[in-house]
Structure formats: structure tokens, C-alpha cells
Symmetry: C2
Subunit: 439 residues, 2 copies
Amino acid sequence: MSDTKMRMVNAFDTDRADDLPPAERVLVERRARLLGPAYRLFYQNPLHVLRGEGVWLYDQDGNAHLDVYNNVACIGHCHPRVVEAVSRQMAVLNTHTRYLNEKVLDYAEALLATFPAEIGHVMFTCTGSEANDLALRVARRATGNTGIIVTETAYHGVTSALAEASPSLGAGVKQGPLVRLVPPPATEGDRETVGRAFADGIARAIADFAAHDIRPAALLVDTIFSSDGVRANPAGFLREAMKTIHAAGGLFIADEVQPGFARTGEAMWGFMRHGVIPDMVTMGKPMGNGYPLAGMAARPAVLESFGRDQRYFNTFGGNPVAASAGMAVLDVIREEGLQENAARVGAVLRAGVAALASRYPVIAQIRGEGLFIGADIEHESKPSPAIAGRLVNGLRERRVLISASGPLGNVLKIRPPLPFSEDNAAYFLERMEEVLKTL
Amino acid sequence: MSDTKMRMVNAFDTDRADDLPPAERVLVERRARLLGPAYRLFYQNPLHVLRGEGVWLYDQDGNAHLDVYNNVACIGHCHPRVVEAVSRQMAVLNTHTRYLNEKVLDYAEALLATFPAEIGHVMFTCTGSEANDLALRVARRATGNTGIIVTETAYHGVTSALAEASPSLGAGVKQGPLVRLVPPPATEGDRETVGRAFADGIARAIADFAAHDIRPAALLVDTIFSSDGVRANPAGFLREAMKTIHAAGGLFIADEVQPGFARTGEAMWGFMRHGVIPDMVTMGKPMGNGYPLAGMAARPAVLESFGRDQRYFNTFGGNPVAASAGMAVLDVIREEGLQENAARVGAVLRAGVAALASRYPVIAQIRGEGLFIGADIEHESKPSPAIAGRLVNGLRERRVLISASGPLGNVLKIRPPLPFSEDNAAYFLERMEEVLKTL
């Protein structure tokens, strides 16, 4: 396995295809033949799924796998409200935003109502990559500047402009000359200390930009720092960072693809926990529960010059089917109390992982908020991606799906759909302990 | 109306919102308030649509408007086969390509079967912008070069990398330093002459690159040159262009978002008419008949280094719902004989427009193939965007939807859904003559 392949934590190694059962080997070979070499599968033993329902995915033999990883199916796989909303609207009208239609306006209104009043406009795209790429275009137009600051293991998307600002893609994808990396927020310390240290890194990046005659257009951060290994607390540490980028003439963009849509339990949006109001907010994966829907919300002043000189059109973005999917997701989050559930079950799950940590010292620090938990895996007090991999693959053999992340790949990423129950948490923790016993 | 606004042909002028009926004025104001200033509407009198079926869109009063413009709903608005395929699959499974699933492989196989055997792999995205952006990333990785060549009024997408290679977005969006523009193929002359002249422009761009120590990564062209004013013939003129870019070490990317999926009647893909086999082919709008589905197909050798060093993942791209939508579109094109229909009705439509041209000299040259027609509008032998605008808006008042394009905005863009019938063509031509009489 090459070094660059290694950079994707938890990827199936195609060199080991011969070890698979015949049916899966055929599928793996067909994928390579049809889709080419850029696609990756999860797990040493890739999962063949045929059906999803709630927090469960079912394989070709009908076995149920507990999904403790998927933030796209945020209100549960194949939620009937989304299926019904999309099916109904698709049969009636599915066209673009250059005709007048109320569906996109009703949805925009409902979505903006979940934001502070300062965030006044929302624009629709199909993917989080498109939303982040649009935010960069707007930031560069609004500020007249070009530099982009992201964290050391950031992931923000796959367009040309974002791939070069997504170091988590590995050494095969180079950072662009207008990109600077900063250390992520520390995992220890109080709000002031963590906030100050994070802002100091940003100030150093700004100084380095200045030395190259570059001025910063934006600081772009995932407000729960998923690919940096999950850094949610102490809430409030983003305030100093926002002040620092603003003082240098740049904008603050909150990438809410991961923490957004109530996942943290504490708030609908990750930035809210930090007591900041970003200039732009980007949204993606969970927004349509699997329907390709994403967006970018902004303070109106930020959009003025871009809107005047650079119109934006996204063929499928904001069509009435996408709007219906998005509205169903907002309705279900509210009606099923999923934010409250994320807070309550998230606390149970964290306490359960902490209890395991007290008995199994490979689990070191546990971080996160609501239904997004990161747990450092260590061996003899050193990060151990190898043991993290054994845990992830051991759970997969016991039909529980998680993954790993972080700069070293040793952080378990525990991030189930929002309707995850206490029973689901107990089931996960039992399987987890089974695997821990085998180490 | 500002100059930069002017650059979008056929955009509603928001300064004229007071002239609208009260209900539409409210919607226009709500749009501006919620979606901000970057969105544009079609027509002096924007259309409020509530329902679509086949080639018809229905407004708030139940009036039927003949859609002679939409290439997204390529097999007809709300085609029941796509509605059914998406509804059924959404209720069963909608997850990503990092698990094994046969739907995406079955679709990839069916799609690749429509290409020459040399095009061996296909990768899935959600939008044509993502497909073109991915093609640029792959071209730059495969060649080690950076320069991109496009035509003078090209449109290829809205990501940062594509907007700077899409001069049709207007003067408010600048071309990037790694982009060169070339004149589009001429509208007169035989295949050799047109091909040679187009290739000469490319050779000049390559020479200019060389003078700046830039080497070309790719020539990226819409193989029917829609935004350049529709240039379909003489078929074959792309051969010399491909040779020229290859000789300089760059790749040839065919953007099939417009001509693809049988629109030209002659072939499934626009490049096929020219007797070339591109290095990469990008697809978008019609691919899922409105479901956000797009993709990039490539010669395997081109993907080798990218796939090894730069994995690609698109969260919603190639999920089983998208694959089901795409498969339904391919099935319907074949079963309903839509390629043959595009050839047959396209010929009738072109002959009808030619007959009008013989009586109304404002219609000058008529170009295109199948169900994609461009017609130059002139006044006293000079291009007249003003009269083109009056025709487009006059047709809209008679409930027939077309638009205009081209570097000067004087080319009528006639591009109906593929099931367009001879009766539909007759209806269009009658309304067109009514408007011509008013000029």
C-alpha cells in the first residue's frame, strides 16, 4: 500500500481483493473496471449494502448493520417524510430558479429562521463543495483579497479551489500558493487559552501572507473540526479567531457541513455554540437527507458586490424538489425533537465511551458534542492508528459502522444519524467492548 | 440597467419590478430579500410556474406554456419513469459509493456502452460544474501542465476554476492567468477550412502560453458551442483542433452538457458527429432529467496518476438514487426513440424556421442539429440583440419559452425537450410568425 493511499484512513486496500468472498470480489473488480482508480471503499472487508432504514443498513444477506457514522442520512435512512416530499414534488414540477416558484422561497425562509437575524440571504447549490467554492468566490470578490486560511488537516471539498485547501486529502494533493494552514484548536485548556492560541496561528498565517504581498480573503473552518480530529470545546474559542481575521480584512466562513442541522444537540449550527455570527455559513451533507442539496447563507453586505457583478446560477440548486427535501428535513428535526435527542443520547454515548476508557486504556481523550464524538486511540501513551484501524474493522465485523479521522488517523469518529436511541448507544457500546477485549 | 447585468441575455431587469402584476411583484421582492442579489430571472415578465408535464409548463392560472428551451427535462418534464425510479430507490437505499452497491455499476456499464470503447471509465458528480472542474483537475495531474483553452464566449460552470474559464459570465468575472480564449469555429466554410481556422486559433493560444512559460493542460469545448451562438456544422471540424492540442501535450475535453444525450439526433454525443474520441467527456443537465446527476468519462490512461495520488469522493455522486434516475433516462431515450425523434422533428423545425426566414429577413443564418437550433437575428444585416429580445419576450407573452445566446445576444436559442413533436413544432412556428408580424 503506497503512502498516498495510506492517507485515507480506513480505506480498503485493493491489493487485498483476493481475500474477499467471490461475490464481493466480483463487485470490487467491476468497480475498478467501470469507475477507475480514484474511488475508495471503506473497511478491510468492504460492506455491500442493499437497504437502509432509520439507523440501520442491511447487507446482501439481510443482516442489519448499525450505522454510527452517517451524517448524510441525518434524520435516518430513507425517512418516509423525505421520500414522500421528493416523490410528490418530482411528479409535479422540477425546474430551475430562473422561473418564479414559491417552494424555494418558503424553504429559504424556514432555513434562514434557524440563523441569527444578521444572516439574511441564502443561495442554493447541490453539494457542500459547491457551497464552499461559492463562499470563496464571494469572499474574494467582497474583500478584493485572495488568501485563504484553513486548518492543518482541513477538508472542505473537491473542486480545484477547495482540494488545494483540503490538506486531509493527503500529500498527493498540493496546497495552492494562496492557501495557508494553521494548527487546529488545542484539545486542552480553557476557552481563553485555546482561543488565543488558535488566533495566534491565524495571525502568523496573516503575517506570512503579508510577507508574500497576499492579503487574506477568508478564514474557512469546520466549526467542529472533524478531519482535524473533532474539536468542539471549550465552546467560544472561535471568537478570537473571528476578530483576528476581521482585523486583517478577511471574512469568517463557518463550514457547517459536519456540525450543522442540530448534530451538536446544543444548537442548530456549530458556530452558535461559539457565540459568533459568521460572514458566511456553508451547509451540505445532512441538508436533504441524501437528496443532493447544499447551500451558502450570508450577511447581505457580503453578497452585494458579487451579486451586482457576478450573477450565480446552479441548474439543479434550489429547484422545488430540492426545496421540498430540505423542508422535510427541517420539519422532522423539529417535530421529532432530534436536536434534543442528539443532546440527550450524545451525553449517554459519551459517558458510555468514557466508562469503557476507564477499563480500556487504549481509549484516551474523548471529545465532541451531541452525536459527534471523537475518541483518541493510544498505545503506551502514543497515538495508534493501527489499533484505531483494528477497532474500526473489528466493529465492522460485528456489524457496527464507524470510521477514524484526525491528522494521524487515530481518532475514532462516532457520528450516528440523529434519531440514534439509548438502546442503539447500548448496542454500540457492547460491540465496542467486545472488540476492545480482543486487542 | 448596468453593463454587467446586460451581459446576461434575457434577464429580467429588477429595476422594472413595479411594472409586474401584484402577485409576481411580491414573489420578486421575496426572492431579492431571501436569496439576495446574485439570482436572475428570465424574461421582462418573469414566469411563475407550478406544474410541468412533457413539453409543457403550467403557470399559476393553469395556462400551458410550450417549453422550447429546457434541456434539463430532456425526456419531458416529470417523466413518470424517472419519478418512479427515484421514488422507489429513495425508499430503499440512498447512500454513498464507499459501500459496494450494484446500482451505480449497472448504470456505469449502461452509460459507458454509449461511448466508443476507448472511453473506459466514468466518475459521478452532482453537477456539470463539478464534472468539468474534476476534468480540469485530472487534466492538470495527467499532463503536469496548467493552461486551459476555451472559446471566446464559453460557459463551462460556476466553480472558482470554471468561472474564470467562462467568459460568457460577463466582464464582472475575470479570466484567470492560466486561461486563454480562442475564436469559436466559423459559421461559414467547409470542414477543412473551418477546422483549420479553429485549430489555428488554438495554436496561437498555445504559442502565447509558451511565451508566458505555460504549457497547456487541456482544450475544453462544448461540442455544439451553445453560448458561442450554436456551431454544430460542418461536422468534423473538431479533428484538427484535437490534433493541435495533443501535439502540444494537452488533453481534449468534450463538454457534452449541451449536445449530449441524443440532442443532435445524429449521435448520442456531440463529439461523435466530429469523428473524434476525446480524452475526457463531461456530462450534466439532461443526465438525470432534473435529478442532480452529472459525470465525467475518460480514457483509462488519463485517470491513472490522478487515481493513484488523488482519490475522489463525491458524497451524493453515484448514489443508487442518482444511478436509478440516470438509468431511467437512458432507457426512455432508447425505448421512446428520442434520438430518432430529435433528428426527425429537428429537421422539420429547422425547415420551418428557414421558411419563416424566407419571409422575415430579420432571421438570418440558421444553425444547429437535431433539437438544438440557433438562429441569428439581424436588422439591416447587422446583429440585433434588441430584436432578438423582442422575439424572445414576444414568444413568452404567447406562452412559448425560448431564449437567446451568442457573443452579442442576438442568436435565438431553440432547444426543446427531446419528445418535442411535429405538432409542437407547428405550434411554435405559428406563434413565432405572430411575433415576427409585430416587429
